[in-house]
Symmetry: C2
Subunit: 384 residues, 2 copies
């Protein structure tokens, strides 16, 4: 029943959004807002929806990874690193400055800044992938930058948490940083090569007709778990698993993955909307602060990442900047940590969650505009 309501309402509002010239993804998130506690309250977040939502974003990034060549992603590395660094520093400073100006304490202001750091690449990936624009240079920079950004976000969070506890343990932070960097780099660099050698060898031993799909699923779950152990998000592992497999599996595996992704992604998107609580709208002064923070969250990523990508030209820089805006569930996780550590007060937690979720609604229409003039150009080339 719950699944019917979520899936059908997400797809219905996606259609409506498309009819209004907006990306379908906006409709799917709004469907979650509508059926969730913020408006009608028919559905509330539970363990099962959470699990389907997590699976949805994992498959989303896995599917995107399948379309990305690791060699091209590594080529994008240097520019992406610049984008990621600038895209971390500007929002961190922006969030901190706003909260300090409003009279909040040092630790709380820093935590708000930290929650604005990490980009959730799922939203952008979905928009670009739906429009067939993953292959384009700006898209590759966004994906590479989002992976680096995730590692940087982890380091920032480690530093901010240390500061909030009153001591800065450099050794501990270095350890936090090294493992994910090694993991990400090793898989990105040698994953495709390793899979190319391993898949035929293992496959020849298996008798099932869909053995390659099963191997792909095991690698997907395996790298996602490994990613969590090293500290990065499961979706980074899912993306790397997809990238390692992309050139090594048959078209049929791509199709089978596509089916699963189509089923699960609406749960991820509607799940974002379900998380918006109505309480934020109760207090006007809090709402104003939320609005300003949202503005800072959007502008700071746009400026930071845009500056990092400036050498690609102004238009691509804007595309990259806009693509990095969504924070989504990653910003929420940081906010939850801050709440549980007692660093964030409940109203500030509410604002941060609202901001993180609202960025996912702001980004898709901006992305559609930023990529608009590319569309004609792309349509002249073969999609892949």
């Amino acid at each position: 029943m719950m699944m019917l309501i979520i899936f059908a309402s997400a797809k219905l509002l996606a259609e409506l959004a498309e009819k209004l010239g907006q990306p379908g993804i906006v409709g799917e998130i709004l469907a979650g807002v509508l059926i969730g506690p913020a408006v009608f309250g028919w559905i509330s977040m539970n363990e099962t929806i959470g699990a389907l939502s997590d699976l949805g974003v994992m498959f989303l990034l896995f599917r995107v990874g399948l379309e990305v060549k690791s060699s091209e992603l590594l080529d994008a590395g240097p520019t992406a690193a610049l984008v990621a660094f600038a895209g971390v520093l500007v929002p961190l400073a922006g969030g901190w400055a706003l909260m300090t100006a409003y009279g909040y304490g040092h630790a709380e202001s820093l935590f708000v800044g930290a929650a604005l750091v990490a980009t959730s690449v799922g939203i952008t990936a979905q928009v670009l992938s739906a429009k067939g624009m993953i292959q384009y240079q700006a898209s590759q920079i966004i994906l590479a930058a989002a992976v680096i950004d995730d590692v940087l976000g982890l380091i920032v969070l480690a530093i901010v948490s240390s500061l909030a506890r009153g001591r800065l343990n450099a050794g501990e932070i270095a350890l936090t940083a090294i493992l994910p960097i090694v993991f990400t780099f090793v898989i990105a660099r040698w994953g495709t090569h390793g899979v190319r050698r391993a898949v035929p060898a293992v496959e020849s031993k298996l008798s099932h007709s869909e053995a390659q799909f099963h191997l792909a699923m095991v690698l997907l779950f395996g790298l996602s778990v490994l990613a969590l152990y090293t500290g990065v998000a499961a979706i980074v592992g899912a993306f790397l698993a997809g990238m390692s497999l992309g050139e090594n599996v048959t078209r049929r595996v791509h199709d089978l993955v596509h089916g699963t992704t189509e089923l699960l992604v609406p749960f991820f998107l509607a799940g974002i909307g379900l998380r918006i609580e109505p309480s934020i709208f109760a207090n006007p002064s809090i709402l104003v602060l939320g609005g300003i923070l949202l503005l800072i969250a959007v502008v700071s990523k746009l400026i930071g990442c845009g500056l990092g990508a400036l050498r690609l030209g102004r238009r691509d820089a804007i595309r990259v900047g806009v693509g990095m805006i969504p924070r989504g569930e990653v910003g929420m996780v940081v906010a939850q940590l801050g709440l549980s550590m007692g660093v964030l007060s409940a109203p500030v937690y509410g604002i941060v969650v609202f901001t993180a979720l609202a960025t996912t609604l702001v980004a898709p229409p901006l992305l559609a505009v930023a990529y608009q003039d590319l569309k004609a150009e792309i349509e002249l080339q073969p999609a892949e």
Copy 2:
């Protein structure tokens, strides 16, 4: 993590089973037994696994439905009805007789019989579908009989529950029976026709490239929910949804559904294994009773359904009888109801659950043997 262990162990043991000449499905159920509380205790059943498992069996029946023509299923109707009726009466009588002979009370004995009534067609459907034998006559009879069987099981349960409460309300039972019969018959008879008219009309209004898949998912979830409301199992709704769509959607929708099914079915199969509790093995006298009940569960369906299908010839009658053996999660649901009504004692509940689950392990190897001589014949024909 949990997903990795379940999926990987299920697929690994499926491979092992195939190597040993057994259906892969046996390996996947045993994987659940191994990693579950019965042996290693790494994973225990929780809400998320339960949801994935329910989705898995829904997609399994949906995929099978896609391969079945409603006209052929309706042709199989009269024989299937005979199979279903005889397959309900013999196990009901068998279970009741055994428990009465052991000195258990009337109500408890009847409930044990009722738990042996309903076939869970998922296991058989998976074995036949993996071997490409869904199109064969005996398979069609099994599917049609399983649908009728589900409705009959519902009526038996209503009668037995009424008796256990000490009064037999004929009006209430008639009401219980009418709604599911109407639902099942209407969808089976006119579903394909309705979908053939509706799909192009709705699809022409939708802009998304995978709109047909989304419509299929909405119909799947919609009919499953409707089935639950009328009283039959969600998988009957899923099967009918698949059958209505089968001839009306593109090959691509079949492929996308196939991907999702491949991912989810291991959770259904391993989920069966996860439900086996070790406590049943603690008491030898209970274990002996469980063994005898298992024997009766297997033989009574074989005889009842086999006799019902006798006019197809001895070999097909055996195939149908074997195909109807698995009780799985359906028998478990009845047992749980009996336990919650206070009619079944805890040890008897344990035996019934064990029997229901054990039938799913017994059936696949028997099915492989029963269908063996058909294999050569089938392989000469095109698969579809």
